[in-house]
Each structure stands twice: as structure tokens, then as C-alpha cells.
Symmetry: C2
Subunit: 273 residues, 2 copies
């Protein structure tokens, strides 16, 4: 088994088919609970480790129903429909909270499919930006643990230095990869889709409580593209479309250094204001 901290964080022990034990890992701790990206990767990992899995991930939706607490949890993954070339999954993460109540904390659905090669095109091209070597990595948010697990090179839309309410855009662009080198796979790609800080902070230059409530990832990368990406940087871009009445959306794209669009992602985020 890999000794990389990412693999340690999403390690699962099978108790029965599709029924796993795991534990939240301090290396990916956010402010209240684990980094959402590591939870997404953990639920996907339950699918990946299932002996009845067909194919590779195409879509993943993770719903953050309640905050995980430190300690053990249970993940149950179930293939609800297996077709000739596609398979649909439901996943639940159960945990006992501080009051001793056991309940569903996170839900997910996933689609896996046998790889096929077809005609294709990238409709959205990677923006023209300086290569990662030309963008210095920035230490971000000392004190928040999970961000230390990533090498982040902000290209535009970094965290505001002055919280003066004067923001004009919610677009952030950055180069990013695991701080400790690890070849990209579907699990780390899923985790990276949640790497962005809350869009409302940037658009309004105001720091308010915010948390992702649902995230969807569409995986466009083939095995060959993942292999070719290896430990290289991803160019990650995110922007809100609507910020209103306590929730905003975020659309994100992640390309590899060769300019191949590996994943697109969307999330809806709760915020106070």
C-alpha cells in the first residue's frame, strides 16, 4: 500500500462487500471537519475498491449533508444498476457524532463506465497563461492543514489581501498538484476539484462563513491522459455564475500542462452574508 499521505487519508478497510471502515485524517483537516475534496475522494475510493466495479469513473456527485467529526466512519457503496457498459452507484458515509447519534453525514452517486475511444474534441481551450515554472508557489493559509498538502501557484484571483468589499470578479486560476509528488489518478483528480476557496470571498472581497453542500465532478481523462499527466501540475480555474440568497454555484475546469481538459466540476456552496 502507498505510504503517500493522500492514500493514507482515504484508506478503507472492507468489512463486507461494499461496506468499509475509514477515519478522518488530521493531514486534510479544514476549519470544521475534513477538506471536502478528501471526503469526495474517499467516497469514490469505496466505489473503486468494490469487487463488482465495472469500468472507470465518469461522474461523481457528493452531498455534504453534515460536518464530519474526527474519528472513524463507515462507507457503504452499492451498485444499484449495472448495464452492459455502464454502472450506477449510490454511496453513503455514516458516522457517530459527538452526541452519540449515528447518521448519514455524506451521500454520493457515481457513474462508472468501460473505457471507449471515440471521436472527440475539447470545446473549451485552456487559457493562455504562464507555465507553472514561471509562477512561484505561494504558502497559503498557514494554520489550515489540508492546503499544506498542495503546491499552489496562483495565476489570478488569489485570496484578497484587503477585505474591503471591493471585489469585481469571482474567477480564480491556479496551477496546483500534490505537494508530495503522487501520480494523478481519478481519486486525486476528484479531490482537486474542491481546491478553490469560496467564490463569494473573492467577488465581494469579504470573508464570510461558507461551505460546499454539493459537488459534481465529470471525469474526461482517459487512463493514458492520467498517466501522461503523472506528477505534473494541473491548471485549475473556477468561477461563480450566480451568488444569491445564501447559496452560490461554482463551475471549474482542470487541465493538465499539455492543455488537455481532464475534469469539469460544479458545486453549490452555502454562505452567510
Amino acid at each position: 500500500m502507498s505510504t503517500h499521505v493522500f492514500d493514507q487519508a482515504l484508506a478503507l478497510t472492507a468489512q463486507a462487500e461494499g461496506d468499509y471502515l475509514g477515519a478522518s485524517h488530521p493531514a486534510y483537516w479544514n476549519m470544521v471537519g475534513p477538506y471536502g475534496g478528501i471526503t469526495a475522494a474517499t467516497l469514490l475510493n469505496a466505489v473503486m475498491q468494490h469487487p463488482k466495479r465495472l469500468g472507470v469513473p465518469v461522474a461523481l456527485t457528493v452531498n455534504y449533508a453534515s460536518a464530519l467529526v474526527a474519528g472513524p466512519f463507515r462507507v457503504v457503496a452499492r451498485p444499484v444498476r449495472t448495464n452492459r457498459s455502464t454502472q450506477h452507484w449510490t454511496v453513503e458515509l455514516w458516522q457517530t457524532d459527538a452526541q452519540g447519534d449515528d447518521g448519514v453525514v455524506t451521500t454520493a452517486t457515481a457513474l462508472t463506465a468501460l473505457p471507449r475511444t471515440t471521436w472527440g474534441v475539447d470545446e473549451v481551450a485552456m487559457p493562455a497563461v504562464p507555465p507553472p515554472s514561471a509562477v512561484p508557489p505561494v504558502p497559503l493559509f498557514k494554520g489550515v492543514e489540508w492546503i499544506q498538502r498542495y503546491e499552489v501557484r496562483p495565476v489570478s484571483g488569489g485570496i484578497p489581501r484587503v477585505w474591503d468589499g471591493g471585489g469585481t470578479t469571482s474567477l480564480s486560476q491556479l496551477w496546483v498538484r500534490d505537494a508530495e509528488p503522487r501520480p494523478l489518478d481519478h481519486l486525486s483528480l476528484a479531490a482537486l476539484c474542491d481546491v478553490f476557496y469560496p467564490r463569494v470571498w473573492l467577488r465581494r472581497a469579504t470573508q464570510v462563513p461558507a461551505g460546499t453542500v454539493s459537488m459534481t465532478v465529470y471525469f474526461h481523462a482517459s487512463a493514458e491522459q492520467l498517466d501522461a499527466t503523472g506528477t505534473g501540475c494541473l491548471f485549475a480555474q473556477a468561477q461563480a455564475q450566480a451568488i444569491r440568497n445564501g447559496f452560490f454555484d461554482q463551475s471549474a475546469q482542470l487541465w493538465n500542462e499539455a492543455g488537455q481538459l481532464l475534469a469539469t466540476s460544479h458545486q453549490v456552496v452555502y454562505y452567510k452574508a
Copy 2:
């Protein structure tokens, strides 16, 4: 009860709390099975009718695991986590197929939340386009039933007239509303998010088998904005980001005539090529 065909199509009869009977409706029939938008609205309707529902829809993800057949089905909606102001749902649609096998045909997750008013901004503005009155409605696809239920006024990216492989973009823009007037609500807004024909048809000017496998809708509209929209047209826009290896994604935005962004949506679509 409304006599509008849309309401008839998604009518559910409660058998027990969160356990409903419904039936696929011929008025929304697609080529093989019902229009995906009516199925999405039906699953959301199971949440809306649940006596324990808290608040209004914020997010909905629907996974089309298998094709529905004509006839009755069962929908089971379950609130898996109820917080102070938010509630997380899982929904399953069960149906007995032609071989007599009962199974899960569609799964969904949803988030509802108590309405709140906060600071907000529309980050993505509606494109400058002619008003619906300046764009003649076009009868589309005679023979496909569900599209007859909508008044469609294509602005750009209409269905190719020549299938010559010469497409250059996957962007479609149209004005759309129920053909028989019906005030917009969350249910019809969810259905409209699936109104677009397959992006690969446009981008490649080639008609290939294609079907949505997962769709997510984020609802940005407040009750006041829905009321103000009424029976007016929506400006709907959709585009793929990546078309590759048998699946493509689609990002969509729906504005009302006043230019308010009511919903954003994403889907991943299977295609043959």
C-alpha cells in the same frame, strides 16, 4: 389538481410517507422512454410532496441508470439528513421492466433549504439577444412527442440542417416555455434544464445515438423571481466543454426575460461515435 399536461405527467399518488406511485406519460415520450426533464421533475416532485420537506429546492442531481418503459413506476423519497435550515434527500425510481424484473431505474439526490435573503450578484450576465417576440417559434422534430410540449424560439445553434460533419461550436441559445401556458415553478424549471438536444450533434454536425446519464440542477430563483417570471419565456443556453471517449458534458444557464439567472445546470451525456 392542475389539468395542465405537465402536472398530469408528474402526478404521484402517495402509498405511504415518501412512497409514491406514478406512471410514464405519453405526452412527454422521447425516442426510447420519457423525456429526461419530465423524469427529473417527477423525482423532484416526490420531494416537494413529502410531508417532512423543509424549504425549497437548491440542488438536484438525477442519474438515468436505465431507460424507463411505458407504464407505472414507484418513487421513494427519503430525507437522509435534516439540519436547522437545510435538508438532504435521496430519491429512487423503481420500475418493472419488460422481462418482469423490478429494479432501480433512476436515482437522485436533492438539497432543499429554507429561503433566506442575502447579498448577491449575477456573475454571468445574459447575452444580448433579440427578445422572444422577435424570434419566431419553430416546430421541431415532428414525431417526437415531448418537444411538442414546449414553445421553442431558437436564437443560435439550432439543429443542423445538413449532417456533413462540419460543425464548429456546441453552443445553442433559445427562448423556451411551456407550449400550454403554465406559471414557472421549481418543477418546470428542472424539466427545462434538459431541453437541449445532444451537443455532439451540433459540434460535429453528425447525428449519433446519445442519452443523458446524469444531470445536476442548481436553483438560483427565489419564489419572487419565479412568480415574476410567470408564463414568460426563459432564455436557455447550453454548451459542451469536453466531448471525448463516449461521453460529453453540457453546461447550461436559464434566465428569465428580465435577465435574472434562475438556474444553472450540468449534465454528462453518453454518445456513440
